[in-house]
């Protein structure tokens, strides 16, 4: 197992490098003139300005040099200052956010993380619970209902679901609202009396002992959470169910029954435990699915996270923000997949001990 983990850890930098290649390659689709616009606050107007930027950042140099500059930065021979370089944290300037991309990512990530974390509750609890129930009642009504839910949930586009929720719960019933906080609290949380420890509103509200803000933040998140969760919930339900059905057929279940174990013990100790091991493998896919959903969901519900930023940047063709977002995702998911892979190896004794 340790060699597997070491191998996996050694592959990680290779993949990481590949990701930077890929992003750099996407950037190269644009010509030097277009790329020159990516690095600075104001869109350069005159040819002189453009040429100055191309020179300063070496945008007309050979590709491998450009990659190197993009990676570690380039010393400007005239001013002798280092410019660019993603390793230095210089991901460029976001026109959408009117701030450096890296700062924008930092500022908006907590909101998205908060949304994703809350969504995990219905996904995991609902998906696994329904999957197990469905499998244990194979071909009975609850199984049929689960299957219908899984198929429908898997087929409905996120943005359609989001808009339908808005139609019903906001426009018609007025129960939940889009955005992140009501106006009355939006200001309050920026005032000195309220400390933003984590920048995650629900967590900060609790840490500041403000139940009213907590409930308000949660209220704003109900619709996005449902929108985000349904698809992944359906996926997890499907995987859990089939994994359970698979394990229920195994010989060792017959052995457990032949020992006279209570049905509850057979299910809990023998079937469920084994069935949930493969479920871990889709944790990565679930996270990726959440990130996909976040882009659309945040846009619909006007929720100020990374996804909304990406969608805005995409519409305004703010390429540098998009590339920054891509890089952020690349790094995030290399890490996430690594953890999932290692976790899988660790929880399965067949692999752990061989």
């Amino acid at each position: 197992m340790t060699t597997y983990i070491i191998r996996r850890l050694l592959i990680m930098p290779i993949t990481l490098m590949g990701v930077t290649f890929l992003i750099f390659a996407m950037m190269q689709i644009l010509g030097p003139v277009e790329r020159s616009a990516l690095y600075v606050r104001d869109v350069p107007k005159t040819e002189n300005q453009i040429n100055a930027i191309i020179q300063r950042y070496g945008l007309a140099d050979p590709v491998h040099l450009q990659y190197w500059y993009w990676l570690v930065g380039r010393r400007d021979p005239q001013t002798d200052e280092v410019v660019g370089g993603i390793l230095r944290g210089d991901l460029g300037f976001s026109r959408t956010g009117r701030e450096p991309v890296i700062e924008m990512l930092q500022r908006r990530f907590p909101a998205t993380l908060e949304l994703a974390l809350w969504s995990m509750i219905p996904i995991i609890v609902g998906g696994i619970w329904m999957g197990i129930k469905a499998a244990l009642n194979h071909n009975k009504p609850i199984d049929q209902i689960s299957r219908i839910f899984a198929t429908l949930g898997w087929s409905i586009p996120t943005f359609v679901l989001g808009l339908l929720l808005l139609l019903v719960f906001y426009a018609r019933l007025g129960w939940f609202a889009p955005g992140r906080l009501s106006t009355q609290f939006a200001l309050e949380v920026t005032r000195p009396g309220f400390t933003q420890y984590t920048k995650m509103m629900t967590v900060d509200a609790l840490l500041n002992l403000r139940i009213d803000i907590f409930l308000d933040a949660l209220n704003h998140m109900v619709m996005p959470i449902i929108t985000l969760a349904v698809i992944q919930w359906a996926l997890l339900l499907r995987v859990t169910r089939s994994s359970m059905l698979e394990e229920m057929r195994q010989d060792y279940v017959r052995t457990a029954r032949s020992k006279g174990l209570r049905e509850r013990t057979v299910v809990n100790r023998h079937i469920r435990r084994n069935a949930l091991i493969p479920v871990v493998t889709i944790a990565g896919a679930t996270l990726a699915g959440l990130m996909n959903g976040v882009v659309v969901t945040e846009t619909i519900f006007n929720y100020p996270g990374l996804g909304q930023m990406a969608a805005e940047a995409a519409v305004t063709l703010d390429v540098i923000t998009m590339l920054g977002f891509a890089l952020f995702n690349g790094i995030l998911f290399i890490g996430a997949y690594l953890i999932v892979d290692i976790l899988y190896v660790v929880i399965d004794p067949r692999i752990r001990l061989s």
Partner: protein
């Protein structure tokens, strides 16, 4: 050369003339004779399972609608670009279903139209803001979905099958390298990657179907490659491949006759599921605003109009509900079909792909 294996014993009382080892072989059905056992099983399965019949009806329905688009929604002038949705004025406010059509109505009233109870063209499903006719957009959007979806699926399947076959067949270093490259592509959540790439491609191709299509292909082949590679690897180990080699078969013969045909059905399942999900991603991109120019007949774009009326969605429900039904049905149709095929072909595959 004759060898009597039936010995001299003929049990008394049994009707004479039946060769001993005929056993209880059932005669094959006509379907089976014509198509072989797997296709026969697949087709019989699809037509006997109520869910897949529903899926089949939905998908066929969309194909019929796509084919009949010129009759269902004729363009305003003969010879006009049918993919341009006709506008009945420029008012920002949507109009409800049944509103009379004033400007740019289809140039003739087809025979079927009397079924709707109208003599002249009305906005059957209402208009969006900017007075784009929803009925027209959905009918021609079906064509867009089918054409763009098929093109993307065919292209990414071709790339994936090629990469997967090469990796699976050659194995070793080639396999290792291709898989490392593949891993780089799968690191990004699919919609995120597609969004980034298409926003970079828009300046080059302009607003059209191309940026989204290319991006969906570039980040859409990996599933096929993985599937095919795995299938080839497992098929290579099968005894019947060993048997063919023992008979002196060439590698090309083995691949073409034994390995690829057996990998075909899982690919088919994946293809069906992909047909649905590609169009949903495509619509999501349009919805976010990275896609075709305004007015192009495309489902996602119609839905994106709804974003302007979030507060009054209950009044303008038709802006979201009708496109939502189209999108949901389309995804559902392909998913039901794909799921049914998966269950028929290999019950063990349940929940493993897609």
């Amino acid at each position: 050369m004759t060898i009597n294996t039936s010995e001299a014993v003929t049990p008394a009382g049994r009707p004479a003339g039946i060769p001993l080892d005929e056993g209880f072989l059932r005669p094959p059905s006509r379907l089976e004779k014509a198509l072989g056992p797997e296709w026969a099983r697949l087709i019989r399965g699809i037509f006997t399972n109520p869910l897949s019949v529903i899926g089949l009806i939905i998908v066929t329905g969309f194909i019929v609608v796509g084919l009949l688009a010129p009759v269902l929604a004729p363009p305003p002038k003969p010879g006009a670009n049918p993919y341009q949705i006709p506008r009945d004025g420029f008012l920002p406010e949507p109009k409800p279903p049944g509103t009379p059509w004033v400007k740019n109505a289809p140039y003739y009233v087809p025979a079927w139209y009397s079924l709707t109870g109208n003599e002249e063209w009305v906005h059957l499903l209402g208009t969006t803001g900017g007075q784009y006719d929803i009925w027209y957009a959905l009918i021609w959007g079906t064509r867009t979905a089918l054409l763009a979806g098929t093109a993307v699926v065919v292209a990414s399947a071709t790339i994936g099958i090629l990469v997967g076959s090469v990796a699976g067949y050659f194995g070793g270093l080639v396999d290792e390298m291709l898989m490392r490259i593949l891993e780089i592509f799968v690191v990004f959540p699919s919609l995120v990657a597609v969004l980034v790439l298409s926003s970079i491609l828009v300046p080059i191709f302009g607003r059209s179907l191309w940026p989204a299509m290319i991006a969906l292909i570039v980040f859409g082949w990996m599933g096929y490659a993985r599937l095919l590679r795995g299938d080839i690897l497992s098929n290579k180990q099968r005894d019947y491949v060993m048997a063919a080699r023992a008979s002196g078969a060439k590698d090309t013969h083995i691949i073409l006759k034994h390995v690829l045909p057996n990998a075909m059905f899982p690919t088919l399942v994946f293809l069906s599921l992909d047909m649905g999900s590609i169009v949903l991603s495509f619509a999501a991109l349009s919805f976010l605003g990275v896609g075709v120019e305004p007015g192009y007949a495309d489902w996602g774009q119609i839905v994106s109009f709804a974003r302007n009326y979030i507060v009054s969605l209950d009044t303008f429900w038709y802006v979201i509900v009708f496109p939502a039904i189209a999108l949901l049905l389309y995804g559902l149709g392909w998913n039901l079909l794909g799921d049914a095929m998966r269950d028929i072909l290999d019950p063990k595959l349940r929940g493993k792909i897609g």
